[in-house]
Amino acid sequence: MQPKPVLLKILDGLAVILLGVATYFALVKAPTEQVMGQVQRVFYFHIGTAWTALLGFLFAAVLSLVFLFTRNLKWDRFQVAAIEVSLVFFFITIVLGSIWARPAWNTWWTWDPRLTTAAITELIYIAYFMLRQGIDDPDRRARFGAVYALIGGISAPITFFAIRLYRTIHPVVIAGGNPEAQGGFSMTPSMLNAMFVALIAFTVIFIDLYWNRIRLGNLEDKVEQLKLKVML
């Protein structure tokens, strides 16, 4: 195994530090929201993970195209890493969203456009991994994964807009809009600060985990190649 590049070691440290900073800003520096209290603070991590995960899924869909046109397996490794990290982050997003919903609207789940689409999106990428697990040939696995990630990546935004448009025809109690309107709180400057800190922190953390995951993927690839070599 190749030793960790110095840059990655620095990034590891930076990610941990930024996580701490973001936590500090979210828990200490940001003011307590009046209407729903302390639980609003989960919003910062909720946004941080959501934003990076969604970009990750989008990036993965682009990687699909790159792989399908170049047929170089390294793009497949990049895609798996992106989807895996995004899946973990998005799971956090969904759980935090649910925790926020409970005291705010007295329900663990709302079928509003964002949360519903989030659940569907998560299921799409879980299906992605189940698809890959059922294929032994690396090339076929990469091709199928790429096609499905592309299909999923196109379907998820359509789902979101479809649900959103659907709801505006028949207005429901919970308006699907920006989180500010839903949660019913307006953001003070210091809250905005905390939000941006969280966004930056999670972007760095994402990239750090992503890079580490790619290295793991390279190891997996090496093991597969060695296995083939030894078997023959």
Binding site: Y148, I151, I154, S155, Y166
Partner: protein, 247 residues
């Protein structure tokens, strides 16, 4: 990949000779050859059709007990029950259709022909669509009789057509993938359902709109979503199908 002679059914030789000469008219010939082969095979055995039909009727039966409703509430869930039925029965048809293809080696035979892979895709989509529509055409009167609702409205039929097109379009691509994995049949619903949500959403909304006699301006939006989905996904599937079936 060698084609076993025992697998070659008379129709396959006809179809291969029909598409062996390279020319642009071949594409259409290839597509119709695939469709015709499937329809003929199904006409003889009727295994796919009968399975899907019986399954659909059983689902409606289950829904009857699962959702014990009074007559008024039943009216509002008709669209949902119909589309849930079609979605589940559809996976049955898709799975079987592609499994037959793989098991009998027909797919390999088709791939040997010098024609664009997408012709196979379109052929399969059309034949899968035909099976779905046939089942739906029978389910509709049965449901109408059981629940005393007139389901034969042109608007509803249009929605069923558009929704089935989207379903078959994406379903054929995903079924072609799932049948080549270890998990085979089980995987298709897992792959298909999250991705088909916009179709179900728009189809149910448009269907209930037509059934309730809502204003057309309300129904137009979900109809547009259906059409947009169909166009987008069939294009994507058409572009990338060959990546799924290469050796």
């Amino acid at each position: 990949m060698t084609v076993k002679s025992s697998n070659i059914v008379p129709t396959k030789t006809d179809q291969r000779s029909a598409i062996s000469a390279p020319s642009s008219g071949n594409y259409f010939k290839a597509v119709s050859a695939v469709v015709w082969k499937d329809l003929q095979a199904e006409f003889r055995s009727r295994e796919l059709f009968s399975a899907m039909l019986v399954f659909s009727l059983l689902i409606i039966l289950i829904f009857n007990f699962a959702l014990e409703l009074d007559i008024k509430t039943r009216q509002s869930v008709t669209a949902g029950v119909l589309w849930a039925t079609f979605a589940f029965a559809g996976t049955l048809g898709l799975n079987r259709s592609m499994t037959i293809e793989k098991d009998r080696g027909c797919l390999d035979g088709l791939l040997l022909a010098p024609v664009d892979r997408s012709a196979i895709y379109f052929g399969k989509v059309i034949s899968n669509l035909v099976f779905m529509l046939l089942v739906e055409i029978i389910v509709l009167p049965v449901y109408s009789v059981l629940y005393n609702i007139n389901l034969f409205q042109p608007g509803l039929l249009l929605v069923i057509l558009l929704g089935s097109i989207g379903y078959a379009g994406v379903g054929t691509l995903l079924a072609a993938m799932s049948v080549q994995t270890r998990t085979r049949d089980i995987l298709l619903p897992i792959l298909l359902f999250p991705v088909i949500i916009p179709v179900l959403l728009a189809a149910v909304k448009a269907s209930s709109g037509f059934l309730d006699g809502a204003a057309f301006s309300d129904i137009l939006l979900p109809l547009n979503i259906l059409i947009a989905y169909d166009i987008i996904f069939i294009s994507v599937a058409f572009m990338f199908f060959e990546n799924i079936v290469e050796e």
